[in-house]
Symmetry: C3
Subunit: 311 residues, 3 copies
Amino acid sequence: MNIISTKDFSPENLGYFFDKTSEMRRLDNGTIDERRELASRHIGRQMYSLFYEPSTRTRSSFGLAAAKLGIGKDQTENAKEFSSAAKGETLEDTIQMFNNYHVDALVIRHPETGAAARAAAVAADHMAIINAGDGKGEHPTQALLDSYTIYEHFGRLNDLSVTIGGDLRQGRTARSLARLLALYPGNDVTFVSTPSFRIADDIKQELTQAGTSFRESDNVHDSVKQADVVYWTRLQKERFDPGESMQDEEFVIDQNVLDVMNPSAIIMHPLPRVGEITTDVDRDPRALYFRQAGNGLYARMALLDYLMARG
Amino acid sequence: MNIISTKDFSPENLGYFFDKTSEMRRLDNGTIDERRELASRHIGRQMYSLFYEPSTRTRSSFGLAAAKLGIGKDQTENAKEFSSAAKGETLEDTIQMFNNYHVDALVIRHPETGAAARAAAVAADHMAIINAGDGKGEHPTQALLDSYTIYEHFGRLNDLSVTIGGDLRQGRTARSLARLLALYPGNDVTFVSTPSFRIADDIKQELTQAGTSFRESDNVHDSVKQADVVYWTRLQKERFDPGESMQDEEFVIDQNVLDVMNPSAIIMHPLPRVGEITTDVDRDPRALYFRQAGNGLYARMALLDYLMARG
Amino acid sequence: MNIISTKDFSPENLGYFFDKTSEMRRLDNGTIDERRELASRHIGRQMYSLFYEPSTRTRSSFGLAAAKLGIGKDQTENAKEFSSAAKGETLEDTIQMFNNYHVDALVIRHPETGAAARAAAVAADHMAIINAGDGKGEHPTQALLDSYTIYEHFGRLNDLSVTIGGDLRQGRTARSLARLLALYPGNDVTFVSTPSFRIADDIKQELTQAGTSFRESDNVHDSVKQADVVYWTRLQKERFDPGESMQDEEFVIDQNVLDVMNPSAIIMHPLPRVGEITTDVDRDPRALYFRQAGNGLYARMALLDYLMARG
């Protein structure tokens, strides 16, 4: 099994991975004997992390997940500059090399959309390819941890009112979350952004086909009032169109926004943030983004635990 | 417990860490069964090395210390360039992420003075912060290994004549060693440098308050004659003032200096050296700087062994 | 024992390493219990990878070899930029530091010819130096995996017709393979290249002295017809002389070349390739270059298994 796209997930396998993620969290926070048992579980298996682009969160959480499960690992932080890629080797040749190194899982981050699928196409059966982000394409383990965080809190992924805000045009986490919500009945999605950062038509079509209700707005206060989940994303200013100016201050979660939010809501963010949630919000019990980051570790442990138990 | 500053050390806990450092050296140089037992001791624990600045010695000795103790680990060599920091994430947010990754120890090197203390302020109780150098601030594990090296040789840290030479103005190892010597009675310190590289007033005040005698000199030969310990540091030429020219050749430990040194003295250096100790000195039995480097490994193993045995 | 040069290998120790390489491949492709036993074999030993130059293949295969054998490890990807070397530390001082870190094996890649031998000259007895490539000098583990690949297929390293093509002037793999073939009787070597990329005189002299027959050619088709082994290398275009233009298309292995090759021949390449073997050749059963890459892992495991079992 490869993990290439959000489309690799279904309500059935998500249910399995959610239970596994909870188990990983419980054991890792258990006694030292439980942690020791966990760290002996997959001795003899190996993972390689092949990162062609910068990453702290994703790379370190995969690295720690492997360490916590006893999986041998090696990695490159900057495959683009320090590797055979610089000499002109194709991704396909690199993958065939790792096939022959008998690696059980290859975690890949690559700047080109579709790179993980290209890797999977030439990967040997014994080597699972895990997409850790490919360009503007997919980042399925982020989608897994995001949906787990909602599930962990509410006990369900259906019949929820979800507001997704910030850069929806290019943010792959916003797109992926909308897709996953469309797999479950009764969800209601509000997209909030300025006109030039609106969610793309393909996602709107998917939601329509799935029968998931949604609307678009440019008013933060109105959009968060009824939400069970407020999912906020970073404004990627390097991608602004020339001459365009986004009123940042209108897209910030601060005490004023907290005041109008549902008391039982949760606030999520894929991190890093650069000002779009003020730090005083961190003390609010509804702020779940750091726990969400931790769920990234446990969701990746769940995936690896599943993949390593095969064969 | 966090290890942020030389001030975290006292004669009491230094005694404990010195014994532990000796134990680590003994076991690591013991039989393969002893090394194997050591490498199984902390299975189930994890450490992360977050380095925002270049380092060979410190980073590799922490990495090997973890490996030798069975601690799972992951790291980034260049957090500044390849991480969320490049996207504008604050150090505090990065630390809160590692809190949620349930890491037992976070080793941090950062260019800004005070960064490790800022990290400790937001670190969870279960995660020990170890300062591996923050700007011109502190480098406490260097101070630990330096004082251990003296203790290992002389069996005490009191009633010693210590000459500290080279760049005393900016060298944090020289400053830290002077501080630690002030914790013990009867030490006598000679600082030797050119006028523009003199030790700063804050250290002189600390020594005065502690009742530790000291003097300043610009004559190497005179300063080393009576010393039990000659602690030499690198001249950081990139920090010379414009128009200033240091007579390097006067601040070199070579055969001429050896000839006037006490036969029972020891020569230390935090390394790397770039000519301020000539290589023919390496063969002199008083040259302890490579053993000192090895003590860096064992002192860090001692710290980690202590921190990992908690809770 | 250090592994510095192809000259460290003899028919006697190659026979031992070939058997060990086969054992490593068998166990790593065996049951999970066999892999788990392997990954527990050398717990308590440590390896450090000190890479001053980019590498994917060599560095990751050493890293995975250590993981698969239970050897603790740490590494630097880019020692040149991120280490004490940038501050002016000599290689000799760096090696003496690792002596004192009590590392069992130090794997070194360095841009300067002779660097590994310089490292070995100051390395402690307990620390094996493994040359992972030093400038235009040596890359002995590549020579080991190349010769193993031939041995694995033919069951011998003697009485073979071997054609070596591409950049023979600067390619250290081509030079090393020729050297190893001269250790065995009855081999016949054809060097095929354009005039400016011809094999150097020192290799020709070695072959002559060993009584190994050889010839030079610039015709690919003629040269591969009778070969048991076709060993192809990358044209390092950055090294072309000014005004020189190599007819690349004449030095490409493609279907036309396959058509004239011996049906029982094998095609090898040290990788990466950048067009000098077309991808349709991959499907031909004679194409062994990806298996050869995998043999790089197993040959390095064999070396490490041998070195770690000492003392």
